[in-house]
Amino acid sequence: MMLTSAIMINDAQALTVYTAGPGSLSKSLAAGFEKQTGIKVNIFQATTGKVMARLEAEQANPQADVLISASWDTAEDLQQRGWLLPFNSANAAKVPNQFKTANYVAQGISALGIVWNTQSNTPEPKTWQDLTAPAFKDNVTTPDPALSGASLDLLIGLQNSEGEKAWQLFDQLKANGMVMSGPNAQAVTPVLQGAKAAVFGAVDYVTYNNIAQGESVKVIFPENGTVVAPRPMMILKSSQHPDDAKKFVDYVLSDEGQEQVAKAWLMPARTDIKAQRPLFTEIKLLPTNQDGSSERSAVLKRFGALFGQ
């Protein structure tokens, strides 16, 4: 009992970081930061939706100092609410302008693609449209865009570049038996065992990690273009330890921090750190224009009506 009660007193001095996956990355960042500065980091790691929900539920009683989300939008939303503490890290100099603002900066970047099981006896898909072929009948999953901000970005990107043709694509996918299931990993796991052959629009780093573990799956960036999902990192105005929080952001953007990010199969935010995977400059990108949330909720509603219950 002594032991448990000793653990139960949460260290008031510790820095609290709320972060979307990958869990192994947040752990190694916390460990590296603690080693360098002696400041303990408490991590709450979950999906973006859960992290944001917790932040919102705690608004009268804020706990988090630093937030790392997997969706650029969430940062924009929080900024408009005036929740963010402006901070320009010296280490952010090598981060491209499109991935930083006065209030938040990318920790790393992922891209969306098709995840395909190489042993599924299906032809290797090259474009999004390939997944509407008979070979993929009832054989495709997709993450729920309501739960995965990145996959919503993809839908919007497709709509922006192809207009109504994008919706014809979604209709055909629906007719071909594509199902929507949970956040990112819940859509990917069935593909590992071969229950499904491919995922339409999965975040890539989870799968790169699976490949490194020996799974026979492949990440394909379609020829007709995809989107990248920068992961915004920000300091909350309500933070009781703003100086420590700034140090943490500095650390994540340092050489050591960015190498950890690269090790987690993400693209580092800094262009001068090597990645072990294709960079956004090597992937064909769809046009994105961030013009407000009305478009987002309209797309979400329409897609939900198509694939929902």
Partner: protein, 549 residues
């Protein structure tokens, strides 16, 4: 002293049970409570009723609950009757085996079934047949939950038959009734209350379950109320008034079933395992014995061997896409648990510590409550009893919502929120009814003259309590505390909702592994912890038996 003790108990019940519930009601009635405003009372309900999903959620929950209750009846009644009426080879072993599904975390069972039954799952790899469409449907969900829950009906029926004995049915036989008539007119009616109680308990457990609907629901296109509440609370954008109103509706449903069950079974405890049979005049089945064992074996295969086999196997496979081949077996997932910056071990010790804390706290509090309640019949004591047993009808997700609404506020000078105490509070609230029920029924069996006898011989009240009452109810108390320990060490939904930043329990660790696509490691952790908790329980049982002898 009684007054002081009553005060302490009531304070504890207020903190554990009454206040969280009160805040759910307040939040449901006053949607702007978070802003400290009482305006817009009742305005959350029309919005909720407008939600097209609500009816589907409500009906779905009723359907799953009803289906599980019915299937548990169909499975538990015949098995329980065979166990209670006939001399069965290995009876104690079957009982033990049927306890295992009850002790296995349901979400792990659901995920194991997924890996076994889905397209290209283990079963298809072995036999070429898949059960994909069966698994991801409401029937699949009912099936998985039934295999977890049916033991409550089995134990209710078999214990009731063993306890009532067959004497009355034999009397009928002597007077010329056939064996079937004796069963139909005498034995069955005698067990009916226990049976109905067991079935209602199965219904309550099913509608309160979060893990199985969360694991299978998305692909089955079925959202149940527990998952709906969790989504409203823990997925952006959040809807606290909606979560609170849904919680109220679900609690009312569970409360109705639970009150009905209490009414039917009166004070007798349908879940009590290991009650003392009065007289065992079990019939001999002769050559049919082998035939009788068949349903037991099939049930164990389905409820224990297959899901736990799939779980262990998934922890041992190097890659999922590699399939079932000898060359694809590895121990690396188990090895990884011990490296990983000590995360898995930390989660394990957190869970064990919290479960131990919850067992001690609920044990002490439950014993005091049961003892106070047994001493008198005042209105205060009846209220104490009711409050202590109320969490039996409260789903875990509702307790989680209540604790967040209560403690996640700016106005408390000290708050357990964001510390481990909040997990201790939630486990203790959820599990308090176990010790209270077990100790109450043990106290009822004590001769009412024992305490006065001790007092006449000069013992103080505390002495009588410590030297007479406590030793006599100790076995029941320990059994209940073991149950608390087992359930608390695997609890999923309130842990997910309430765990402070930087803390993981076993269930959270496993859930997060799945969330990130590390199936092997999640299953390795599940296998290790299940082995650990089963052997812990087994050791405790053996120790207690030896002590009792």
């Amino acid at each position: 002293m009684s007054h002081a003790l009553n005060g302490v108990i009531l304070l504890a019940l207020l903190l554990l049970v009454a206040l969280p519930l009160l805040f759910i009601v307040l939040q449901a009635l006053f949607p702007y409570l978070g802003e400290g405003s009482w305006r817009g009372a009742f305005s959350a309900f029309p919005a909720l009723l407008d939600d097209p999903q609500l009816a589907a959620m409500w009906l779905g929950t009723l359907k799953i609950g009803g289906g599980v209750a019915l299937c548990s009846l169909l499975l538990g009644l015949p098995l329980g009757a065979l166990r209670g009426l006939f001399r069965l080879p290995g009876a104690a072993l079957w009982d033990l085996l049927f306890l295992i599904p009850f002790l296995t975390p349901p979400y792990i069972v659901a995920l194991s079934w997924t890996l076994a039954l889905q397209r290209n799952g283990y079963i298809e790899q072995l036999t070429g047949i898949n059960f994909d469409s069966l698994l991801f449907s409401s029937s699949g969900m009912i099936g998985v939950m039934t295999l977890n829950i049916f033991p409550v009906v089995y134990f209710a029926v078999s214990r009731s038959l063993l306890a009532s004995g067959q004497r009355l049915a034999w009397v009928a036989r002597v007077h010329g009734a056939s064996a079937w008539r004796g069963f139909w007119h005498i034995t069955l009616p005698l067990t009916l209350p226990a049976l109905a109680g067991g079935v209602l308990l199965a219904f309550t457990l099913a509608i309160e379950e979060y893990g199985v609907p969360a694991a299978l629901g998305a692909q089955a296109k079925l959202t149940l109320m527990t998952v709906g509440i969790e989504t409203k609370l823990a997925d952006w954008p959040i809807d606290l008034p909606g979560a609170a109103s849904l919680s109220l509706m679900l609690s009312l449903m569970a409360l109705t079933a639970w009150l009905l069950q209490r009414k039917l079974t009166g004070s007798s405890d349908v879940t009590a395992v290991g009650g003392k049979p009065v007289s065992q005049e079990l019939a001999h089945a002769g050559r049919l014995q082998i035939l009788m064992l068949l349903p037991f074996a099939v049930t164990v295969l389905l409820a224990v061997v297959l899901p736990l086999g799939a779980m262990t196997l998934s922890g041992l496979l190097n890659t999922l896409s590699g399939g079932l081949h000898l060359s694809n077996l590895t121990l690396r997932h188990f090895g990884a648990l011990f490296s990983q910056q000590g995360d898995a071990l930390a989660a394990f010790s957190t869970s064990i510590g919290l479960a131990l804390g919850a067992a001690l706290l609920t044990g002490a509090l439950g014993f005091l409550i049961a003892w106070r309640v047994s001493e008198g019949k005042t209105r205060l004591l009846a209220m104490m009893d009711g409050l202590a047993l109320l969490p039996a009808a409260m789903p875990g997700v509702v307790v989680g919502v209540g604790l967040i609404l209560l403690w996640n506020r700016g106005f408390w000078p000290v708050s357990p929120y964001n510390t481990m105490f909040i997990l201790l509070l939630s486990y203790s609230c959820l599990l308090l009814p176990w010790p209270v029920r077990y100790v109450s029924s043990a106290l009822r069996q004590l001769a009412p003259t024992l305490q006065p006898a001790a007092r006449v011989h000069g013992a103080s009240r505390v002495q009588a309590l410590r030297l007479i009452v406590l030793p006599l109810v100790a076995p029941s108390l320990l059994a209940a505390m073991m149950m608390v320990f087992a359930v608390a060490s695997r609890e999923l939904v309130t842990s997910l909702l309430l765990a402070p930043a930087g803390t993981q329990t076993v269930a959270i660790f496993i859930w997060r592994q799945f969330e990130q696509g590390s199936v092997g490691q999640g299953m390795a952790m599940a296998t290790l912890t299940l082995c650990a908790s089963l052997s812990l329980m087994l050791a405790a049982t053996v120790l207690m038996r030896r002590h009792a002898r």
